[in-house]
């Protein structure tokens, strides 16, 4: 009948093989995620070659499941979308080349999507009232960005991390205190048993920038603390370290976000990315925003981790704005927003 637009989206930028069907950018008809976390846990982090091999194995079953869950055949889909960066090049190439071949053989238009644009657009899925402009904090294993979303798919970066991403700091600290991979959820859990004020870790600042983030100093402070405990024969309290480290990260993210928010003419604030699942961060931002009479937009955890529904959401607005990619679309590991 219809002006409805259904998009088959594929995401393989890191260690999740994901496919989804999304209608009109906001309605998720299916969302299939095969996570490789268990595979990488024994290596203490994502091994790109192992991830790439697993993507090859899983890509077709995941795509077919996404179509089946949506009750669709490929012919019912209007557009093929795929994450083409940023991310790990080997994993990205699997999704990009599979998506291109589907688009070519089925005669469907192809839209390449920026992974971070996907994370931000995850907010559209469950918040029908959310429309640009708004401010968004994107925090994940690879990114820490404060972004003004000026329009659909239009971004102005206000602040970014100068070294480690927030999620990366979580992973490194989790490894150092023996919690293992992935660090985000493990520290979040351990922190609930600990005293967030037990240790006063520094809050990273960047000298020549008002808003940019730095997390490598904080990570070093945790490592130094562990060393000095060891040298003095003091038993380390893992829960206290997790809670104190997390407090430092959350306070920096929250304070900086509110400074930027207060100085902008935006009245809506969204959170996105894997670290958006962190309960302390969600709570702190919810409180800070409600004190300002504003509401925090944040996706459900399943749309915070890497998934393809968010890529389908972002692709809808790219597609309707006229974006099409050619069959020479390549993976771009350091693609800028």
């Amino acid at each position: 009948m219809s002006d409805d637009l259904s998009i088959l989206a594929i995401e393989t930028s890191c260690d999740e093989t994901a496919a989804a069907v999304v209608r009109n950018g906001r309605e998720v008809l299916s969302n299939v995620i095969y996570t490789q976390i268990a595979l990488h846990t024994e290596y203490g982090g994502v091994v790109p070659e192992i991830a790439s091999r697993k993507h090859v194995e899983k890509i077709n079953p995941v795509v077919r499941q996404a179509l089946a869950d949506a009750g669709m055949e490929l012919k019912d889909v209007d557009v093929i979308a795929v994450t083409y960066g940023p991310g790990l090049v080997g994993p990205l190439l699997v999704g990009v080349n599979c998506a291109k071949a589907i688009a070519w053989a089925a005669g469907k238009p192809l839209v390449g999507v920026h992974h971070i644009s996907g994370h931000i657009s995850a907010n559209y899925i469950e918040h029908p009232d959310l429309e640009p402009p708004y401010m968004c904090l994107v925090v994940s294993g690879g990114h820490t960005h404060l972004v003004e979303v000026t329009g659909y798919g239009e971004y102005r970066i206000i602040a970014r991390t100068r070294d480690d991403a927030a999620g990366e700091a979580f992973d490194k600290v989790a490894r150092a205190i023996g919690l293992g991979y992935p660090g985000g959820p493990k520290i979040d859990k351990a922190a609930r048993e600990g005293d967030a004020h037990a240790i006063d870790f520094p809050k990273g600042k960047v000298r020549d920038s008002e808003y940019d983030f730095s997390f490598s100093g904080l990570k070093s402070a945790v490592l130094n603390h562990l060393n000095s405990c060891k040298m003095q024969g003091i038993e380390v309290n893992t829960a206290d370290i997790a809670a104190s480290f997390q407090r430092s990260v959350v306070e920096v993210l929250c304070e900086r976000s509110m400074e930027v928010f207060d100085n902008s003419d935006m009245d809506k604030f969204a959170l996105a990315g894997g670290v958006a699942s962190n309960t302390a961060l969600r709570d702190a931002l919810t409180d800070a925003l409600s004190a300002r009479g504003a509401k925090l937009y944040v996706p459900s955890p399943v749309y915070c981790t890497d998934n393809a529904a968010m890529i389908g959401a972002a692709a809808y607005y790219e597609y309707t704005a006229g974006v099409r990619h050619g069959y020479d679309l390549n993976a771009v590991p350091n693609l800028s927003l």
Binding site: Y43, E49, S52, I59, G90, G95, A101, N330, A331
Partner: protein, 240 residues
């Protein structure tokens, strides 16, 4: 039978459409661009040049490995995507068999070599009698070891593949058997050779060879090597 063949296992990006012993189209290029940028545009160019109706493709053929890990995955992910749009049988042909098939009918034994880095080659040893026969299945080994095996056979051998320029010096040093080098039109992966050998597989006449006929979903690259992380972990005495 119309076969759509794709090889991105090495430096050459190659595609072909072969139907009933006739090469309808064959493209091979070696550029500085990645296969991700060239492979599908080549196929698209073939499609428009021969006015290919994609739905008339009966089977896919792909160089399943060994080769560049990334290159293999680009070709294989492409075939997997094609299979989602149009499910057809896939001949997963060993890269080295397809390379050897460039020299169909040779009286010499045929030895394809690909540079596998870490001073090794991906190689195999083949002969024609009259079809392709295996003397030694594909493997990764040092070029010196390969030369030892060839010297023991003491037959005329012809080399092909992108390992030739890399190991030309060592051939002189290690080989005591007579040998020659395949000329340019036979010296790299060719999708028409791949398709022709794929047809042997699809007819069920590939006894003794190392590839298989599978589906797009079941298609698996043959890396012949673990990832570096797995290797390091195993050498350190970690798990399997």
């Amino acid at each position: 039978m119309k076969i759509c063949a794709i090889d991105s296992s090495g430096l050459t990006a190659a595609v072909a459409i072969v139907e009933d012993d006739i090469t309808i189209a064959e493209y091979s290029i070696q550029t500085g661009l990645t296969h991700s940028q060239t492979l599908l545009p080549l196929l698209d160019e073939v499609k428009s040049r021969i006015d290919l109706d994609i739905s008339t493709i009966d089977a896919y053929a792909v160089a399943a490995g060994p080769g560049s890990f990334t290159g293999l995955r680009i070709g294989i992910a492409t075939v997997k995507g094609l299979g989602i749009a149009l499910d057809r049988p896939v001949a997963a042909v060993p890269t080295l068999e397809a390379l050897a098939y460039n020299l169909y009918g040779s009286g010499d034994i045929v030895c394809p070599i690909m540079d596998a880095r870490r001073s090794q080659v991906y190689t195999g040893i083949y002969e024609f009698n009259p079809g392709l026969k295996l003397i030694m299945g594909q493997t990764a080994e040092s070029f010196e070891d390969l030369c030892g095996q060839l010297n023991e056979m003491n037959r005329r051998v012809i080399f092909t593949g992108d390992g030739v320029p890399v190991f030309a010096g060592q051939m002189q040093e290690y080989l005591t058997c007579p040998y020659s080098i395949a000329p340019a039109h036979m010296s790299r992966q060719r999708a028409a050779s791949l398709a022709a050998l794929a047809e042997v597989y699809l007819r069920g006449e590939a006894d003794g060879l190392e590839g298989c006929v599978t589906t797009a979903d079941g298609l698996t690259p043959v890396y012949l090597r673990q990832s570096q992380a797995e290797r390091v972990r195993q050498e350190a005495g970690g798990g399997a």
